[in-house]
């Protein structure tokens, strides 16, 4: 083997070594990602309850069109997306810009503090948010003591305040995560560009909008796609904070899939069809974002 390798031309030798490195990972990805995805696609063309399945063509996809619970969950998730992702990314960008200032004191402390929420488990932070926003929870106690409200607000029992709590929770958990991407990208911008801008008389706002935002465009695009993807697959927060309530006002697509698979009479095929719709949605939204955001 070593001898034959030596006899080959340098180029083909390198490509064989290259393939040797790539193949194990590629095989694993194929077995554990692409094969199940293929099986799920196949499953989505079948119908039946439990383990009794037969082929049904596009029946599951047609069924989606008249599924009110699916429409509710899709609307909920898109609402979270429209409200939460812009708020979070703007906040993350602004914070990253502030924390990139070399003259700022306790920079390390602030960076750590803002990133720390990402180290908490999704379930435990959700439970804490739930208890904070309970009728006799911390938030109501605080607002009452500050005389901002006279009677406690039942946050999780009202459709819009429940959505608001979810958005707040998501923002708390994920802003720091996105901020780290921006911070890393900011450090790649040559300091001399900023110096030149300062010499030319550009203010902080002008530097932010004319230099930072355009130069971070690829990273903003990346975080937007990742956040969109994450929000469409939202599960832990809504499951633990509101359990989809009140009256399905916060149920997410993933939670509906979970109910269909494990809480109701199992309909894996229909659940698989819904997952493919989510997949197509993510791909579609990412495509739009690439069109709008990527101007290379």
């Amino acid at each position: 083997m070593a001898k034959t390798l030596n006899n080959l031309k340098l180029k083909s030798r390198q490509s064989i070594i290259g393939w040797a490195f790539v193949i194990p990972a590629a095989l694993l990805i194929f077995i554990f990602y692409f094969y199940p995805i293929g099986r799920a696609l196949f499953l989505s063309f079948q119908t039946g309850i439990g383990a009794n399945m037969q082929f049904a063509g596009l029946a599951n996809y047609r069924r989606l069109l008249s599924d009110n619970l699916f429409k509710t969950s899709l609307t909920n998730v898109l609402t979270f997306l429209a409200l939460q992702v812009p708020i979070m990314l703007t906040l993350a960008l602004a914070l990253a810009y502030l924390l990139n200032d070399k003259t700022l004191k306790f920079r390390g402390f602030f960076r750590t503090a803002l990133f720390l929420p990402c180290a908490t488990s999704l379930v435990s932070y959700s439970l804490i948010f739930r208890s904070m926003f309970a009728l006799d929870g911390f938030v109501n106690a605080l607002l009452t003591n500050l005389n901002l409200i006279t009677s406690p607000i039942n946050w999780l029992a009202n459709p819009w305040t429940a959505k608001l709590v979810i958005v707040l929770a998501l923002t708390w958990r994920w802003t720091g995560y996105n901020m780290i991407f921006y911070l890393a990208a900011l450090q790649n911008i040559d300091a001399s560009i900023f110096e030149a801008a300062v010499i030319d008389g550009a203010g902080a706002a002008a530097r932010f909008f004319r230099i930072v935002v355009p130069m971070l465009r690829p990273i903003i695009l990346l975080t937007a796609i990742v956040s969109t993807n994450g929000t469409l697959q939202l599960f832990d927060e809504t499951f633990n904070i509101t359990n989809g309530g009140p009256a399905n006002a916060t149920i997410s697509i993933s939670q509906y899939i979970y109910r269909l698979s494990f809480q109701y009479s199992p309909r894996f095929s229909y659940a698989a069809a819904i997952s493919f719709v989510v997949f197509i949605l993510v791909a579609f939204l990412a495509m739009i974002q690439m069109r709008v955001g990527d101007q290379r």
Binding site: G50, S66, D67, Y264
Partner: protein, 423 residues
Amino acid sequence: MRRSQVKVLLCVLMLSLLTSSAAFANQTVTVWAWDPAFNLYAMEEAAKIYAEINPDVTINIVETPWDDIQTRLTTAVMAGQTGTLPDIMLIQDNALMKNVIDFPHVFADLTDSGIDFSQFADFKVSLTSVDGRNYAVPFDNGAAINALRVDVLHEAGYELEDFKDITWSEYIEMGKDILAKTGKPLHSIVAESPDLIMAGLQSAGTWMFDENGDVFIANNDVLKEVIEVYVELVNTGIMVQVNDWEQYITSFNRGTVAGTINGCWIIGSIVLPEEQKGLWGVTNMPRLERSPNATNYSSQGGSSWTVRADSPNKDAAIDFLAHTFAGSVELYETILPSSGALATYLPAGDSAAYSIPHEFFGGQAIYAEITDYASRVPQVKYGVYNYEARDAIGVAIAQVLAGRDIDSALMEAEETVRFLMEF
């Protein structure tokens, strides 16, 4: 040399394992169940009793929460890997029919196994059988109770007796008075959890499905009456809605509310605060008025033991259950005092242990009382789509409380369930 010795040893070991598992002896029966203070404790005591009858069979008890049991069961069956499941599984009564019908051949048919099902409460046998075949050994009793703080009742000038055999409107009348005099609501409930609605339905012998298994929600007068009662309980402040189970337990443990209505297994949580000893009393739940078959008895929660049909230890598992949960009064006598695990095994009800007064409940012989309730619970079939219907009703309640009229909310609930059922 050494290697070959190891090989020989291994062969001998394998052989001994093979021969021993071929016989009835030296088997290990694995059990999945949840709740250490209740189900697991009962199982451990049963294992001790069986160890004397058949010392060669080991009972291996693995604590597994109900949600995990359901998820693992579904996953294993869908993947065709039922071998990963244990020999005995505890299944919630309200999910049993669904699992038996959705996953045929997974659960052993126990009808002709020698276990005498006539020894169990009728309503429980009805919940654990499908098409007249028995698929589970009935275990704990979910007979509904109305547990009340007698001291609070006294403060407002009432006795526990005043709450026995009453209607919901009498309950509401007294509730208003007690709330006005003591500032305490009568009970609490987890918002959007339709447990009380379900208990109300069963108390009148009705369910969300008719005898053919069709959805019976939109034109269900019993259901309408139950929801009307529910709304009135919330609007009068007699029943407080809380957000989760923890808050529900806390509400009566801290004395924020004067009682609770639930399956009798809730006693395990009622007896937690030492300082409330002697202050509680137990009576039956209020009944509906307009519904023809209304009673003061219902069931809420409860679970039963199933045996896996393709398990190599199936016979040992059945033999174990037959000698313990379906045949040992001694077992029920042992587990009752410390866990309050009330049986649906009728011979146990005659045991002296059941008539012992309970100190926490002011010396009331609550177990004899609840065993009597259990014998009067109307029979219903929970059906395959029980969880779908529960969720839909939960949504309907939230809508009605937000101002929507009952008829249109129930119409939507019926459509939702119908949609989930049709394939």
